[in-house]
């Protein structure tokens, strides 16, 4: 027990107090609200009524998986190609990739909506080319496209970092031993960049599953994801309880998927976060 109260604990004390007050306590409140009603009495009603939301849960998960997969399919070749560019080009590409990441998500989503809207830039362009306009905003595809567009850099950066870390001699050895280009890709580069892929997938998936702005804008108000449901419940105090229980379930779902993903990763923890800050 003495070990717990070392000098280090004393130095870190402000942080420890902060953690308990503002990280642990809020989560306990989510738990408390999930299992109580408005009068504060214990109830399982919130949890039982969750079945009403199972459709939304399934749609959100489905769309998040599609968008994560889309990001991977588009992002992996990009990360690979960038990693094979010259040093100077790499620097430029990285800035080009970071810039949208640092641009507010609201702005990016909003500009995408403004372009794809029925009277927007894209449809005006189609009309001027004498093509039939397409109704995009308000469809499932538009929301998935928005997710891919917004979260795509989160996939590319960690994969890029992982690919650049690969020892080039390994690739040379593979080709010396008779691998063709495709085999080098599938047997050497892909497996060796696994940690980056996992970080990317985790970050895109967690962001997609919890978004609410993208579906509000690109879903045209006709579309509801879990994020929207949670946001709606927190508009009035009477529905805080059901909102808390939906959040709790979402959090548990994410924790499970994180744990599953971590099983595939041998890299140190935090690699997702590290790539976020560009390290």
């Amino acid at each position: 027990m003495k070990k717990f109260f070392s000098k280090g604990t004393a130095v870190a004390a402000p942080h420890l107090v902060w953690c308990v007050l503002f990280i642990v306590a809020p989560l306990l409140f989510v738990l408390y609200y999930s299992f109580t009603d408005t009068s504060g009495a214990f109830t399982l009603e919130n949890m039982q009524s969750l079945s009403d939301y199972s459709d939304i849960f399934l749609t959100t998960i489905e769309m998040s998986i599609i968008s994560t997969f889309g990001c991977f399919i588009i992002g992996y070749p990009l990360a690979y190609f960038i990693s094979r560019s010259s040093e100077k080009q790499k620097k430029v590409y990285m800035v080009l990739l970071m810039l949208p990441m640092w641009t507010n998500l609201l702005i990016r989503t909003y500009s995408m909506m403004a372009i794809l809207d029925d009277g927007g830039f894209f449809n005006t362009l189609l009309l001027s080319l004498e093509l039939a306009p397409v109704h995009i905003v308000g469809t499932k595809g538009a929301v998935i496209f928005g997710m891919i567009y917004d979260f795509f850099p989160y996939m590319v950066l960690p994969i890029y970092t992982a690919i650049t870390k690969i020892d080039h001699r390994v690739i040379e050895a593979a080709s010396d031993l008779g691998c063709n280009g495709m085999q080098i890709m599938t047997r050497v580069i892909l497996p060796l960049s696994r940690s980056g892929i996992i970080s990317g997938i985790t970050m895109v998936f967690v962001s997609s599953i919890s978004t609410f702005y993208i579906s509000q804008k690109l879903g045209g108000g006709t579309f509801e994801l879990i994020g929207d449901t949670i946001e709606r419940q927190f508009q009035s105090p009477s529905t805080y309880h059901i909102g808390a229980s939906i959040s709790l379930v979402m959090m548990i779902l994410i924790l499970i998927s994180l744990a599953v993903m971590n099983r595939f990763s041998d890299e140190e923890e935090n690699s997702a976060a590290r790539s976020r800050i560009g390290k």
Partner: protein, 289 residues
């Protein structure tokens, strides 16, 4: 192969940038038409600067970002230093996991969990405004902390433990050795962490959305309420200005040449200076005895 990769990179970046470029273009549109360009004008910029709301939001955003980054840097630095010194491995990894919760959790969950806490406390103390600047500040410090610790911790771990020990041997009190020796050594990590916290706070929408009070609006919150109404290019004008600001910052930080090298050198100089001072002090003390 070379051409394929070039074309692919160009294509992806084109798609990534078209919305941003179109948005910038239409911020200069004469009319409120967002489909076709009717002529160049700065009308929407004038509209934007006419409203005092814009300036209040900008001021609020900066006040919040500066205070949140300062507080989280101080707490985060002490946390990183303390956590490395912790004796119990179990306790250390426990603290580490708890610290990382806001980073791993979806923002919306962090937001609503803090909101529930603030509302509950506000009800208990019977506050008129349950959510205010202070709740916003607390939530921003909380989600910035893990990033600060993440950038300071490696520096603390990589530091040669014998150097602060040497400083103390030479007569420094533990506090002096921390401020004169340890702190300058981990400074680059602290600066990175602070910049990180600043930009995160500047950019945050989701958590602020749940923890802000009615009387304190930040720029992202203002954009959100603007986009809830009908489409008007004044949002475009505001966004264009924000994008330009970010671009300048990003280019400055990425192309400022061998900044890391300079930092390293400055750092070594500082260390040498500190050692010298300690030497003098120790010498004077030994003489005094």
């Amino acid at each position: 192969m070379k051409y394929i990769s070039k074309i692919y990179i160009a294509l992806v970046f084109l798609i990534l940038y078209i919305p941003i470029l179109v948005l910038m273009l239409f911020s200069f549109n004469k009319t409120s038409n967002t489909g076709a360009f009717d002529g160049f004008s700065l009308y929407w910029y004038r509209e934007l600067f006419k409203s005092p709301e814009t300036f209040t939001a900008l001021k609020n955003t900066l006040i919040l970002a500066v205070s949140a980054s300062l507080i989280s840097t101080v707490i985060g630095t002490t946390a990183a230093v303390g956590m490395v010194k912790m004796k119990s491995r179990f306790f250390r990894s426990l603290v580490n996991s708890i610290t990382n919760v806001p980073m791993m959790n979806p923002e919306i969950v962090t937001g609503i969990s803090m909101m529930l806490l603030f509302v509950a406390i506000g009800t208990i103390v019977n506050a008129a405004d349950k959510l205010s600047f202070w709740t916003l500040l607390i939530s921003h410090v909380t989600f910035c902390l893990p990033y600060v610790i993440l950038s300071v911790m490696p520096r603390v771990k990589a530091m040669d433990k014998s150097i602060p020990e040497a400083a103390m041997d030479l007569g420094c009190t533990p506090l002096q050795s921390f401020f004169k020796v340890e702190l300058p050594m981990i400074m680059p990590g602290i600066v990175t962490g602070m910049i990180m916290a600043f930009t995160l706070s500047l950019d945050d929408f989701v958590i602020s959305y749940f923890t802000n009070g009615n009387d304190f609006q930040t720029l992202p919150l203002m954009i959100y309420s603007m986009t809830k109404k009908e489409v008007k290019p004044d949002i475009y004008a505001l966004s264009t200005l924000m994008i330009i600001a970010i671009t300048v910052l990003l280019i400055l930080s990425n192309f400022s040449g061998s900044k890391g090298e300079m930092e390293k050198k400055r750092h070594e100089r500082m260390l040498a200076k500190a050692a010298k001072k300690q030497n003098h002090q120790a010498f004077a003390e030994s003489k005094g005895k």
